[in-house]
Symmetry: C2
Subunit: 240 residues, 2 copies
């Protein structure tokens, strides 16, 4: 029964292929979990003035980089070996793009950790910390929701993440204005306030990357590229 | 002569495939040329206090975004239709990644244009402009060389671009320190110096993206991932 045999063989291939895709998704989510914790721990180290934990975050970036390289290699191998099309291909390509976003979130965590070390050496700089905590909580929940939207292929949740980005930008602008005022009040605040400003900027970038991931989830699920389109347009795509 | 016919058919397919790859490369280089000019014109608008040209750059970012979407679609289609492997697959995947870098360079040009508008409205801020010109020239030549390395698949030139990145970082740090001094001298300088600082940061990011493109060129040519490896390691890979 050659047909039977072919089917079994075909099933075997497709079973292995599915396993590979699942493994790719799992690895991606592991990387996502790691960079989430990197950002969280960097901000905590900053707020606590804990130079030791900040050093730990800096060292941890090597693991993030390693995961980026491994995931890229795995994704490329899947394309070469399995020649996926349609939805499967969109998944693999989206992973390649989102991995770059995660790696950059890791870089932002490293920058925050560097500022944490600098600030802990200079002594406390309580000004601006409220703003940092606030924006950090916001962008971390965006990142978490974007990864969750990927895990569940939930384009509606991805859309909600996209909508948050504007609010983060507004919060960032407001925080930057507040810091500018502190700097003008007393020139001795300038250097420390600049460090806080870089941290705010890094966090705002984390929000941007979460947004990029969300756009990729919509692309994977709906097959339409919603980057550079107004949110109302993305809304229509998701509603289809 | 079925064999002859098969060959002709095969040649035809591979001829079309080659055309598609060449077209992808050309489109990528066109996008590269556009973002180069966006950065150049944004910096010129800033130095000249030319709000009109800055507006032009901001509007031009829509073209950059459009090219990103088109190139991504084209690259995905090539993978789906031609199922490239080995070197061809590396080229297509590298293009997908480098397109994201170019789009971000475009974003940085837009940010510089925004600052140019702000500064032109507030009146001249000659302080820090020397530093901006200097770093702009440096990162623009890196970007140009990285694109050139891609066009000629020249991994040695790509390696030279990677080596420049450290120098740009040093120049950026020095410029940031100078600006901090201006801010401390007179609090009335703070707001304008902050704008100049964001421009410097944007330019430093352009250098990072040029470096990413260079790393991808080495990956395409040598098949080895030199991201996150010391330059000496990349040197060995290119020397092989």
């Amino acid at each position: 029964m050659p047909n039977k045999k072919d089917d079994v063989y075909g099933d075997h291939i497709s079973h292995k292929f599915n396993n590979e895709l699942t493994e790719l998704k799992t690895q991606f989510l592991n990387m996502g979990g790691l960079v989430e914790s990197q950002v969280e721990r960097a901000v905590q180290a900053l707020v606590d003035g804990d130079g030791h934990q900040a050093e730990d975050v800096r060292a941890g970036d090597k693991r993030v980089d390693k995961m980026e390289v491994d995931l890229d290699e795995e994704a490329t191998l899947i394309i070469a070996r399995r020649q996926p099309t349609a939805r499967d291909l969109r998944l693999v390509i989206a992973v390649i793009k989102m991995v770059a976003d995660l790696e950059r979130v890791g870089d932002e965590a490293k920058k925050i950790a560097k500022m944490a070390i600098k600030l802990s050496e200079e002594g406390q700089a309580p000004r601006g910390y409220v703003e940092i905590r606030h924006i950090a909580t916001h962008v971390l929940s965006m990142l978490h929701d974007a990864l969750d939207a990927f895990a569940r292929l939930d384009s509606e949740q991805a859309l909600r993440v996209m909508k948050e980005d504007k609010r983060v930008d507004e919060e960032y602008q407001a925080a930057a204005r507040t810091l500018l005022t502190f700097m003008m009040e007393d020139t001795r605040n300038i250097s420390r306030c600049m460090s806080v400003m870089w941290v705010l900027r890094a966090l705002e970038r984390v929000g941007d990357h979460a947004c990029n991931i969300a756009e990729n989830v919509i692309f994977m699920v709906k097959g339409e590229d919603v980057r550079h389109t107004p949110v109302e347009e993305a809304e229509k795509v998701v509603g289809r």
